[in-house]
């Protein structure tokens, strides 16, 4: 379902969209229909920017799939040694399999970015003297590259830093000349790290929601990158007792979980 918005600039239109739909920018798929034109002296030929937006739901689908077999309270996930890449990755891989087969039909034809991104990653890994295989596929319009390595966790790094660095650089190279809204999303994964991360974030989000409801005070989460914030927003979007907002700029941007029922006001928003 697409909604259309206009504004003096694309940014303004996006802000309007977020305001009216009541969701964070991270949760929207934005497509620029028309860039704004300032016109002559800002008088003649001025035209507003037009955008089309759609609420994103790709991660929600993954989450619904991983929802079914587990209650949120339970499922402690593959132990504390995610970093060391153990073989016992219990339920997660099978769920990943389900998500793969059910979600791909829309994204059949592979764009040139897929092969380009794969090549770059293979090249970087080779130069890091890491022997690994890269399996590319399209996932909901995003390029998804899975690294099949020795499972040492070296490629994940502390808190996923190395994996994120690889993903960031490959995406930067692939999207070098792409316009601001025409960028291809690149996801690099290994040993199912991303899916396990989603699970962990989901649990954290639920925990913070419980805390907000109990204390009736806003709960601040630590700064997170956009994709992680998006997951938290999505998990709590269906929670009727809290709402979420992002505060801060850039790398310091963080989510605040607000209880809908505040101590003095009868209903907050």
């Amino acid at each position: 379902m697409f909604y259309e918005f206009t504004g003096k600039t694309v940014k303004e239109a996006v802000e309007k969209a977020c305001g009216e739909l009541g969701v964070d920018e991270a949760l929207l798929d934005v497509e620029v229909v028309e860039e704004s034109k300032s016109g002559f002296l800002g008088l003649v030929g001025q035209r507003d920017a037009r955008i089309k937006v759609k609420k994103r739901d790709l991660l929600k689908e993954i989450m619904e799939v991983s929802d079914q077999p587990s209650e949120p309270e339970r499922e402690p996930l593959p132990g504390p040694c995610w970093e060391c890449g153990s073989e016992e990755t219990s339920a997660a891989p099978q769920e990943a399999g389900v998500a793969e087969t059910e979600e791909s039909p829309a994204a059949q034809e592979a764009p040139p970015e897929l092969e380009q991104a794969r090549k770059i990653l293979v090249e970087i890994l080779a130069k890091m003297t890491i022997e690994a295989e890269v399996r590319p596929k399209m996932d909901n319009g995003a390029v998804y590259l899975e690294i099949i390595g020795d499972g040492s966790g070296l490629l994940i790094g502390k808190e996923g830093h190395t994996l994120n660095a690889l993903q960031y650089l490959v995406s930067k190279i692939v999207n070098k000349d792409a316009p601001a809204h025409g960028k291809t999303e690149i996801i690099i994964d290994t040993e199912n790290y991303r899916l396990r991360k989603i699970e962990r974030l989901r649990e954290k989000a639920l925990k913070m929601s419980r805390r907000a409801r109990k204390t009736l005070k806003p709960v601040w989460l630590e700064p997170m990158p956009p994709d992680e914030r998006r997951i938290v927003h999505m998990v709590l979007a269906s929670d009727r007792e809290v709402y979420t907002k992002s505060h801060g700029e850039g790398a310091m941007r963080r989510i605040v979980v607000y209880p809908r029922r505040m101590p003095n006001k009868r209903r907050g928003r």
Binding site: I124, K127, M128, T162, N164, L169, K172, A251
Partner: protein, 76 residues
Amino acid sequence: MKELIEYIAKALVDSPDEVVVMEVEGEITSVIELKVAKSDLGKVIGKQGRTARAMRTILSAASTKLNKRAVLEILE
């Protein structure tokens, strides 16, 4: 390690011909010096140094594997 940084830097910048990478190898720690065209400096550093940080992260992962350490210096 030199090739790693050279490859990434060349892919990021607009003038790959002007990318120069030097490696000063030490017993444990080696220093890798990266020089790019002035107009490309921002490309290898990135917003808030994010690109530079990503390169350093990958560099340390790669050298950890060889039980070594590497430092990336971007020369102006």
